[in-house]
Amino acid sequence: MNSPANTPRQVKGPARAAIGNLERAAASSPAQTDSPAQENAAPLLSLEHIRKSFDDVCVLQDISVQVSKGEVLAVIGPSGSGKSTLLRCATLLESFESGRLSYGDLVIAEDNAQGQAVYASKHVQKQARARFGLVFQNFNLFPHFTVMRNIASAPMRVQRRPKEEVHEQARALLAKMGLSGKEDMMPCELSGGQQQRVAIARALALNPEVLFFDEPTSALDPELTWEVLTVIRNLAAEHMTMVIVTHEMFFARDVADRIIFMEDGAIVEEGRASDLINDPRHQRTKAFLSTYAAKR
């Protein structure tokens, strides 16, 4: 039985476009149709009880993280604590043994009855890839492509968007990154900080819902980190949803809404950014932050 609301109606004029929008919104998030007023019903990204090991060594043990729209989450922790692995699991570069991963209404992996994670089809994974972007520690730009082609290639080849539109967006992104006029340069002609900003533009050109960063500044000379951090700050000001693994504690405190402190593959402490940095509750968080402060 169809409820009247679901019955297609003939509407003419501007109202038709409005209904089209509503229908699209409803189709993209069926969970929200019952209460359209309730926002963020399904978090943009949800990781639940993720377990992952390399050669029988447990690297992630029972990690659960949720990120909602517009939120900036920072992940901190000592070397080897599993931060990168967590990001790589969320971005499908690694698979995990058990747990659940979803982007909005798209379930990427879920436990079966035996408690083993089963991944969705390639097709669903491809859909999920369209929802996130990843910025690597060492940029991973394509060295044989110009700056413009690095940014425009995937939107054109993967999303099949027209060249003019993509190039226009790419130029706007470059302007935002403070890289106007660098379209035709090769990555090898740019500084590390500039390369990383191109990598950020490349990720943004696909219009992701979530952007992941894995230590975006740790391959950079200290004097070049600020230009990348500034770009990320500006994105945060625009409410770009981001998950940032970083060793820059003060940056994390200032730019993130929430911080997760990881150690030995587990989340030790999680809290509001300023609270966690200024006033950590757990002994291990305190210890980590103090060694960090001592190192600086």
Binding site: L92, L93, K126, F136, F142, H144, V158, C188
Partner: protein
């Protein structure tokens, strides 16, 4: 004499270009077989490569030529001499090119694959848009070596009496009881390799619009 050597040179050229035309693409296919995660295929290809590299090309030419007759009792016409030469050269050079491709492909950092995957490229797109163009640049020097060797190796087809330049030079030398024809043939090979080296050099320059 020059006219005879000239027509021999044309045959050498044919062997040269047909071999490249066949073995450059086939080498890529062989490289994929070698890198396959399907172990039996990978082992089989490894075996093929080691035979091709571990036995003389001259012997391989003879085997390819005689296999239809002694193996299957089929006697091929005289034209098979040339065909056998091309087949032997292609399967031999494919093995060498495969190893060059493989080392090139494996030298591309994992991050390039990961970045491509995250951007949503399919595996085929990743290979042809991102990986292969970088591989070409990296393998140009060893490929140049092979190509220059190939120019000289074409002379080996004299064992099947294919009328290429070296076979012709030998015939002339025997008839004239003089070695002038060998010297002239040598000059031909040398000049041709100069051209090949210059062409590859130009190609390398073309590829130097970026470095890593």
């Amino acid at each position: 004499m020059l006219a005879m050597l000239g027509s021999g040179f044309l045959v050498s050229l044919q062997i040269f270009f047909l071999t490249l035309l066949g073995s450059l693409p086939l080498g890529l296919v062989v490289a994929f077989g070698r890198m396959s995660t399907f172990k039996p295929l990978s082992l089989l290809v490894q075996f093929y490569i080691s035979i091709m590299r571990g036995t003389p090309l001259m012997l391989q030419l003879m085997v390819v030529y005689y296999v239809p007759y002694f193996g299957f009792g089929v006697s091929m016409g005289d034209g098979y001499r040339f065909t056998a030469t091309i087949i032997a050269f292609i399967i031999n050079y494919s093995a060498y090119f495969a190893e060059i491709y493989r080392s090139g492909i494996q030298s591309i950092p994992r991050g390039q694959y990961e970045a491509s995957g995250v951007l949503g490229y399919s595996q085929a797109q990743t290979f042809f848009i991102v990986i292969f163009p970088q591989v070409v640049k990296r393998i140009l020097p060893p490929v140049t070596n092979e190509v220059i060797t190939l120019v000289k190796d074409t002379s080996l087809s004299f064992v099947l009496s294919v009328p290429e330049m070296f076979t012709t030079a030998r015939a002339i030398a025997a008839a004239q009881k003089a070695m002038t024809s060998f010297v002239v043939a040598g000059v031909f090979y040398y000049l041709f390799n100069l051209v090949v080296a210059a062409a590859m050099n130009l190609f390398e320059k073309k590829m130097s619009y970026y470095h890593e």
